[in-house]
Structures are given as C-alpha cells and as structure tokens.
C-alpha cells in the first residue's frame, strides 16, 4: 500500500486487507463534504482568528542534554544514536 509507505508504517498482509476495506468505507463516507463545499465558501484552518503571534526573544536555560538523552533509544557522546541515514537505496 503506497499510502502506508508514505506514512512510514509497516503493515502485515492481514492488516493491509482489513484496513483497505475499512478505509474505502470511511473515505466514501467523508467524501460528502464536497456536497456543500462550493467555490464561494472560504476555508477555515483555525477556529479562533489569529494573526502571527510575536514575543520578545528571551534566552532561557534549555533542558539538560542528559535528561533528554536519557529517554532516547540510543545515545552516544551527548548525541542521539540513529541508524544509517545516507545511501539508503544502496
């Protein structure tokens, strides 16, 4: 399933079968929004009107690095340890 790959979720064959059926039903049910979404209606992305919110740039003490790394699956030399990220297609 292409969308599952885009969402970076590995699915089993059984999950793909079940989800595909369910998602078809849900997608056709929610598609009815287009019945009333005529071109003259503006879109609303945010419930309370707000323009850019600005504040003074005040330096604060960040979280201690050790506290943050303590929750990481892998950490080395004060940094996150991550799997290979380059040449993934190689």
């Amino acid at each position: 399933m292409r969308v599952a790959a885009l969402a970076r979720i590995e699915l089993t064959e059984a999950e793909i079968d079940r989800l595909a059926g369910e998602l078809d039903v849900i997608a056709s049910a929610v598609a009815r929004v287009s019945e009333v979404a005529t071109p003259d209606v503006p879109a609303t992305s945010h419930p309370v009107p707000m323009s850019n919110v600005m504040r003074d740039d005040v330096p604060v003490t960040p979280l201690p690095v050790a506290d943050v790394l303590a929750a990481a699956p892998d950490a080395r030399d004060g940094q996150f340890g991550v799997p290979q990220i380059l040449e993934e297609d190689a």
Partner: protein, 501 residues
Amino acid sequence: MSTLVGTTAAELARLLAAREVSSVEVTRAHLDRIAEVDGEIHAHLRTAAAEALAAAERVDAARSRGEGLPLLAGVPISVKDNVVTRGLETTAGSRILEGWIPPYDATVVTRLRAAGMPILGKTNLDEFAMGSSTEHSAFGPTRNPWDTGRIPGGSGGGSAAAVASLQAPLAIGSDTGGSIRQPGAVTGTVGVKPTYGGVSRYGLIALASSLDQIGPVARTVEDAALLHEVLAGHDPLDSTSLDAPVPSFSAAVRDADVAGMRIGVVRELGGEGYQEGVRASFETALGLLADAGAEIVEVSCPSFDYALAAYYLILPAEASSNLARFDGMRFGLRIEPSDGPVTAERVMAATRGAGFGDEVKRRIILGTHALSAGYFDAYYGSAQKVRTLIQRDFAAAFERADVLVSPTAPTTAFRFGEKLDDPLAMYLNDIATIPANLAGTPGMSLPSGVSEDGLPVGFQVLAPAHEDERMYRVSGVLERLLEERWGGRLLDVHGVNGGAR
C-alpha cells in the same frame, strides 16, 4: 471507605483551609480508594503515591506555617496520560511511548503543582486520544463504574471513571471531538471543553492541533469551575493561547440564574438516532430550565450534518502530521527490521508498524491519503470549507440564543466490543460534541439523569467563544434543580461505588 472519598473538591478545600483535615489524609484516602477499586475499573495506568504524598506534606507544612495558599491547595487530582509529567511515565496509551519518562511538565501540570495539588497518577485513554471507548488503549480498556461490562466513553474514559468511582475528586482531560464531554455523559460526571486557546496545550501530546483543548473533569459543576480557574490563562509557550483575563467561573456557578436567558435547542442534534431514554432525560432537563424562567427556542444548524465527515478528514490529516514525531529516533520504542538493511527509514516503518495500534494506523493512513496530491482539494480543502459553514451556523444560532443545548451523546454507555469492528458506528458517538471543536467554541456536559436502561445521560451546554461563563451559569442552575428533584447527587442516589453497585 473514608468519608473524604466522594467529598467534592470545594468541600475538601474548605476542610483543608479550616485545618479539619490534612492534605496527607485526603491524598492517602484517595490512594487507598484507588488500591481498593482500580483493579476492577482500570482508570489509572499508574499511580505516583510517593510523589503525591510528598506534595501533600509540603502543602500541609506550608499551611501550618500560616502561608497563604491557593484555594485548591492539598486537593489531589489525576491527569490524563497524554499530558506530560516530568519524571512520571507518560504513554498516551501507546506501546510506542511505553516507558517514556518526560523531561518536562506540561503547562497545566506546572499550574497544578503551583496550586499545591498532589498528582495521584495518570489515567487511561484510547491510544493518542483516538477513540470513544478506551478500547483502543494499548494497555486494556477502562470499565464504566455504573456497569463494568460497558465502556466509560473515550478517549478520556480513565479520567471520567476515576472521578465517577471516587478515586479522585478531580481530573484533567483533553477534548478533540468530545473526549472530555462524552465520557462525562456516560459516567454521570461533569466534563468541560473550554474555548479553544483558553487553557494552554503546551505539553499535551498533540492529536489535531486545530481541535485539541485541555479541560476539567469533575463530579460537580462548581468543582469543574474551580479547576478551570487553576488551568486557564495565557501561556507564552503556546502560541494559540488566548491573552485575556480569566473570569470567575465558580462565581458564575454560585450566582447562577437563567431567568430571561434564551436557550436554543439545536434541531440537528436530537431526534432520530438518539436513544429514547436520552431524549426523555433531555426534555425533562429542558422543562426545568423553562420553569426557572429561561426562554426555550429552537434553532437550526444545517451544516452540522456535515460536521462528522469534515472532522474525520481534518483530524486524520493533522494527526498524520503530528504523529510523524514518533519515529523511533529520539524517544520511545525503536524496532529494527527483521531482515534487510537497518536504515533509518526502515527502522521508522518497523517501529511505527509495531508501536501503533489499529485505530492509530487507520487514522494516520486516512490522513496521509487526504493530504496527498490529487485528493487534497476534494478532501481537506472541502472539509475546511465545511468548518466555515459550521462557524456561520453557530454565529446565526447565537443571534437567537444565549446558549445552545443538546444531549451530549446519542446513546448511553454501550457494551465492550459492540462497535469495535465498525469504525463509522464508533465515530457516531461524537456527533453532538464535534461541532464545538470545529468552531472553537466552549462546551460542557453534566448529568441530566438516567435512561430507561438505568445508565446516565449527559446534557450538553454550548456557548459562544470566550463566553465559557455562560455555560457555567446554565449548568449551575440545572444541576441545582436536578439534584433537588433527585434528592442528592446522581452518583450518590444511584449508589455508584466503583463497580460494586
């Protein structure tokens, strides 16, 4: 069972201030209650007994030194497990965060600590707050204290069941489409979704950022108001936080009067599809408000018929983006693929495949689909237009009425498993609560009685944005009139006692 358990937060505050009880006694009584009944109810995912008692001791010491303390100082509280707590495991009901110890506090948690409120523990929820029953929690469902074969609502079923079964006088919830109000309705408790931006969301594990709102869970309207006052107010750490003074919600409850108020019944949020006992309970409550001098008017919000569809596009779209952070790189679960190269992208897919439950996968994939090229305008773009129409319907309705009312949920608590295999049927539970999230307006649920099946029914009050006080006024009056009629509080009258009815 100690008599301190089941006492309202307002009364506990009075007893504490008068030094008739200590916070350690109150906190210990609730921890004992949790130990007694939560094996059956499963409202809490974990407790923090030592930390809660230490916080209680600090409050007691400060009081004995004669220090001025906030009103709710010493009153314990439970916190939904999608709100981060420094040093206390926070999972959002997901395997992907199992064992995660947050290095910081959510702003609401900072406020609870500053108010001297001991945190008893973290409450259960549908995974990442996606659900209406807690059946989607990775750690097993919470049971409804009224009938342990039934759901406690969701996603905040843990918080609602905790207060309903007297494990905590108060709790924190979060409401994206009804996750505070619908659990309140099906457990006979009070739940409030404040105006969008009225309570900081810094430290709330985001589901859908344009819809999410933290709010109070309580057994009485006044207790909800008192907690709301602790939580509300501007927070520079949340750019959507409203910078406006916080009125006294509890004064609105105490001085409540509905004479001359116009109360609008929303035609689209009732009738067909609503259980008969739910409709009857709603009509009875409406009659009491009319007798108290309110003018009842009918209003129509035709676009509400499209709210559920718009919601199930906007929410998955935003969730698919928000939950991208759970990638196994910086915190939480990391799973390496069982074969092939161990690269970052393959680790992410394996981690998310193993760490997310069915409903989370369903919604992320739906959201990714709705946002993809070729579908964006028809799905997400149209849903945002529906949002405009819903706001217009609210604006027109609030021209004719001061508040709007409806049943909170179309049915009483259903049985476990009843809707688990039918996502659309599950989504219909939130049909009456979703419009307020799409419009950013405040809403609350309070019990209006029991249905023919002996289960509680919720009455929803909706107010215009920034007018949360108004719904407290109406709810305060209605609660008083109903309790006069019942001869006490609903939970007490029906002897709801942690599953042991």
